[in-house]
Point group: C2
Chain length 450, copies 2
C-alpha cells in the first residue's frame, strides 16, 4: 500500500508547500526542496509580487488543510475596483452584486510562512532549503539536487517527484529534455509589457491614504498602474508598462524623464509616493509570460503542477488560486485512485490542462480590460447591469464572478459561459442604459445561452 | 563596407548551403559548419525523409543561384495525387487545371550535394564538417564549435551568425537561454502521429511499378500511406500513423500484427513491397512537430532561418520550399539594406514570421485533408470544380495552387484567400455537382471574396 510512499516536492513556494502539507495530512512522507533559503530566517528575494489576491478557489484549498480562517485574519478584503481616470472623478466598481463575494489582498511571504509552519509540524515532512534541483530521472522518480551553500550534490528517490518550482521549472526542463519521446508540447509567450513595483506609504496615523477595501487601478489605455492594500497601511503599487516606445521602460531612463512622465500621467498618485523616483530606479522590471504545456506527467513517476505547468499573467488575480486549485483537485483524485500513481498523475493532468489553458487566456483578456476598458462607457454600463442582475437573480454570475467566486465551476466552463454572456451584455449596453432595460428580459436571454 | 564581412552559417543542410552559396555569390566570406560528416564522402544518416516535393517557391530560389535547370533534370514531375481507396478504384486528382503547374519529387541528398558542390567552388566558402555548434555568443556573433571526430573545441567570430540548423537548432537554444531579455516567444507542438519510411522496389525492367508522375496516397481516415517516385524506379513510401491505439505504432510490435494490419488496410500495396515487414522493424519512427518562435534575430548579430525558426509538418510539401524562400527574401533585403545588419535581420524576421506561421497552419490543415478528405464526395467535387475553374479563368487559383504555384504571393495571403475560397466552394459542392453549376456565376462569387 502506498500510504507511506515518499513524495519529493521540488519548490517550497505557495503551491509546493500547500501540496506538501496536504500530502503529510494524508500520511505520506514528504521532502520539500527549496532553492532559496528559509524565508523565516533570512530575507530571501522571491523576485515576485509582494501581495496577491486570494479568492474562492484558493480559499477552498486552504479550507481543506484547515488554515483558511487563520489566513483570512491576515487578509484585507477588496470589494471592488477603484478606478482613477486621468480626467474626472475616481469611481468604485464592485466585483459582485453579492456583498459576500470579494477578493482578499494577502502577503505572499506571510502566506508562504503560514504554510511552511503548518507543514513543519509533521514529523514526516522534511524541508530542505538552499537545495537546487539539477535534474530529474523521470522514470525512476529520482532527483539530483545541489546545496547552494555547501556546493554538495545529492540524489533523492521517491515514489513520485512533483515539480512545483514555478515558471522557470527545473523539473519541466527535464521533461523538455525528453521532448520527442514524450511528444512534449510547450509554449512560452511574453507580453511586450513588463512590470515594476513601487509603494504608497501609510498615512501618518498608520491608516491607508486611499480606500483600503479596493484594488486601485489607474488605467491609461496602453499602460496602467494598480495598487493593493497591505496590513501596515501601505499599498504595493505595480506599473504594467511597455518595454518599448517613447515612454516605455527602456526609454524612461533618467530621473527627469520619469518625473515628467508621472506628472503627466499619474499626477494624483505622486503625493502618496514620496520615493517613487528612487524606487523606480532601484526596483527591477519583471516580465509577464504565459506558459502552456502537455503532458504534465511522465511515466507515472514525475509531475509538474502550478506555475511550473501553467504560468499565467497576473491580470485575473488567479495564478495562485489556480495553483491551489491544482492541489484540491490532486487531493480529490487521490481519494479515488490512491495506490496507482500512473492513474493519479494521468487523471490529474487530463482534469486540469484545459482549465489551466482557459485561465491563461482569460488573464490575457483581462489585461486589455484593465488598462483600456474599465473607463469605457459600454463597459461601465455592463458592470452596472451585471451588479443589478447579481443582486436580483440568485443563479446569475457575471464572467468575473464565474471565474472568481464559483470554485465549483471549472475555469474552462467559466470561460465559455462568461464569454457568451459578455458578448450579449456588451451588445445590449451599446444600445441603451441598464436603467432602460427590462431585467427579466435580459435574464431570459442569458439563460438561453447556457 | 560590409561586402567582405564574414558570415558564419550553422548547419549545411538544404537551407544553410543555399544561403552560403548565395552569400558567396554576393561577395561575402562564408564559413559553413555542419554537425554531420560530408555526405559526398560518407554515408550520413540525415534522419529525415529521402525525397521531397520541390515546387515554385523553392525553384525561384534555385533560379536566383543559377542551378534551377540542373536540379530540374534530376526531378520527377508529380502532376497530381493518385488516390488509392481501400474499396473501389484508384483515381487521379491533378494538382492544378494548368498543365505547367506541377510539383517535383527530388532526392534530399542529391539536392544537398548539388548545393554543396556549387558552394565549394567559391574560394571564400569554407565548409567544416563534423563541427557541432555548442553555443552562440549572441551579441558578438561568436560561435563555439566542437569537432565531433577530434573532440577539439574552437571559436569563430563573424559579422553575423546565421543558424540554419534545423528543428533542433543549437543557435535557437542559445536565443532561448536569453528568454526574458529577448522576450522570446516559443512553441513546439507535436502531432500524436509519427512517420516511418518503407519502400516500393523498381519493376524488374527498371521502371516504376505504379504511376510514375504522381504523389500516391492510400487514405484511411485516421492514418495514411503516401509514396513519392525516385529516379531509379523505386518509390519512397511513408506511413503517417498514430503512436497510440490498438493499431498504433506502439502496439504494432510483432511481425504477425504488422502483416495482419497491412493485409487488412493496404492489401494492394503488399505486392510492391516484398520487404515491408523487415523494413518496418528496421526503420525508426520519426515525430511530426511544428515550431513557431519570435524573435528570430538578436542584437543584429545572430539570426535563425528555415526549420530552425519555423519547423512544420510535411503535409503541404512546403518545408524545404519555405526555407528556400527565406533565402530569396533575405537576398532581396540585402539588396535594400546591405551594410546595416540590424536593419537586415529585423526586416527579414518581420517579413517572414507571419508567412512562416501561415504555412505551418496550412500544413496541419492538409494532414486532415490527405488522410481523411481526399476520398470524400464533396471534396472530390471541389477538386473537380477547381480544375474547371483553373482551366477556364486565368486569374483563378485554388488554395493549393495559391500556396504551391504562386511564389509572388506570400503564404499568409495565400492562406487567407485560399481558406475563404475553400469555404465557398465546399458549400456549393454540398448542394450540387460541378457539372450542374454555372462557372461564370461561381467565378463572380470568388472574385467578390478578394
Amino acid at each position: 500500500m502506498s500510504k507511506k510512499d515518499k513524495i519529493i516536492i521540488v519548490g517550497a513556494g505557495l503551491c509546493g508547500t500547500l501540496l506538501g502539507l496536504r500530502l503529510a495530512q494524508r500520511g505520506y512522507k514528504v521532502t520539500l526542496h527549496e532553492r532559496r533559503g528559509d524565508m523565516r530566517l533570512e530575507d530571501v528575494d522571491a523576485g515576485r509580487s509582494i501581495n496577491l489576491a486570494l479568492s474562492a478557489r484558493g480559499l477552498r484549498a486552504l479550507e481543506k488543510v484547515g488554515i483558511k480562517a487563520d489566513i483570512l485574519e491576515e487578509c484585507i478584503p477588496m470589494k471592488g475596483r477603484m478606478i482613477h481616470p486621468l480626467q474626472g472623478e475616481s469611481f468604485f466598481s464592485a466585483y459582485s452584486g453579492r456583498s459576500g463575494d470579494y477578493i482578499n489582498s494577502v502577503s505572499r511571504g506571510g502566506l508562504n510562512i503560514a504554510l511552511l509552519d503548518a507543514a513543519d509540524k509533521f514529523d514526516d515532512v522534511q524541508v530542505v532549503f538552499d537545495s537546487k534541483c539539477e535534474r530529474v530521472d523521470l522514470e525512476n522518480a529520482k532527483a539530483t539536487f545541489k546545496n547552494l551553500k555547501t556546493g554538495e550534490t545529492y540524489e533523492e528517490e521517491g515514489a513520485v517527484v512533483i515539480g512545483t518550482d514555478g515558471a522557470g521549472s527545473s523539473v519541466r526542463r527535464s521533461i523538455m529534455g525528453r521532448t520527442t519521446q514524450l511528444l512534449f508540447n510547450f509554449s512560452q509567450s511574453f507580453l511586450r509589457h513588463g512590470y515594476k513595483e513601487l509603494s504608497i506609504l501609510p498615512a501618518e496615523d498608520g491608516g491607508w491614504r486611499i480606500e483600503k477595501n479596493a484594488l486601485h487601478i489607474w488605467p491609461r489605455g496602453s499602460f496602467m498602474i494598480i495598487a493593493l492594500p497591505n496590513l501596515d497601511g501601505s499599498f504595493t503599487v505595480t506599473m504594467f508598462h511597455p518595454f518599448g516606445g517613447e515612454n516605455g521602460f527602456d526609454n524612461l531612463n533618467t530621473k527627469e524623464k520619469v518625473k515628467a512622465f508621472f506628472e503627466k500621467e499619474f499626477p494624483t498618485l505622486i503625493p502618496y509616493m514620496p520615493h517613487y523616483v528612487e524606487e523606480y530606479f532601484e526596483n527591477p522590471v519583471g516580465t509577464l509570460g504565459t506558459i502552456k504545456c502537455y503532458p504534465w506527467q511522465a511515466f507515472g513517476k514525475t509531475l509538474i503542477m502550478g506555475d511550473a505547468a501553467h504560468a499565467i499573467v497576473p491580470f485575473y488575480g488567479q495564478g495562485m488560486n489556480a495553483a491551489f486549485e491544482d492541489v484540491s483537485v490532486f487531493d480529490e483524485i487521490l481519494d479515488q485512485y490512491e495506490g496507482d500513481w500512473l492513474k493519479i498523475l494521468e487523471t490529474f493532468q487530463d482534469a486540469r490542462v484545459d482549465n489551466a489553458n482557459a485561465i491563461a487566456d482569460l488573464a490575457i483578456d483581462n489585461f486589455t480590460e484593465m488598462q483600456d476598458k474599465v473607463d469605457d462607457r459600454d463597459f461601465k454600463r455592463k458592470r452596472q447591469l451585471e451588479m443589478q442582475l447579481e443582486q436580483k437573480y440568485e443563479d446569475y454570475y457575471s464572467k468575473y464572478s464565474l471565474v472568481t467566486f464559483r470554485p465549483d465551476l471549472p475555469y474552462a466552463d467559466a470561460m465559455s459561459l462568461g464569454r457568451k454572456q459578455d458578448d450579449l451584455l456588451l451588445k445590449l449596453c451599446a444600445e441603451k442604459e441598464p436603467s432602460e432595460m427590462n431585467l427579466d428580459e435580459v435574464m431570459k436571454q442569458i439563460v438561453a445561452l447556457q
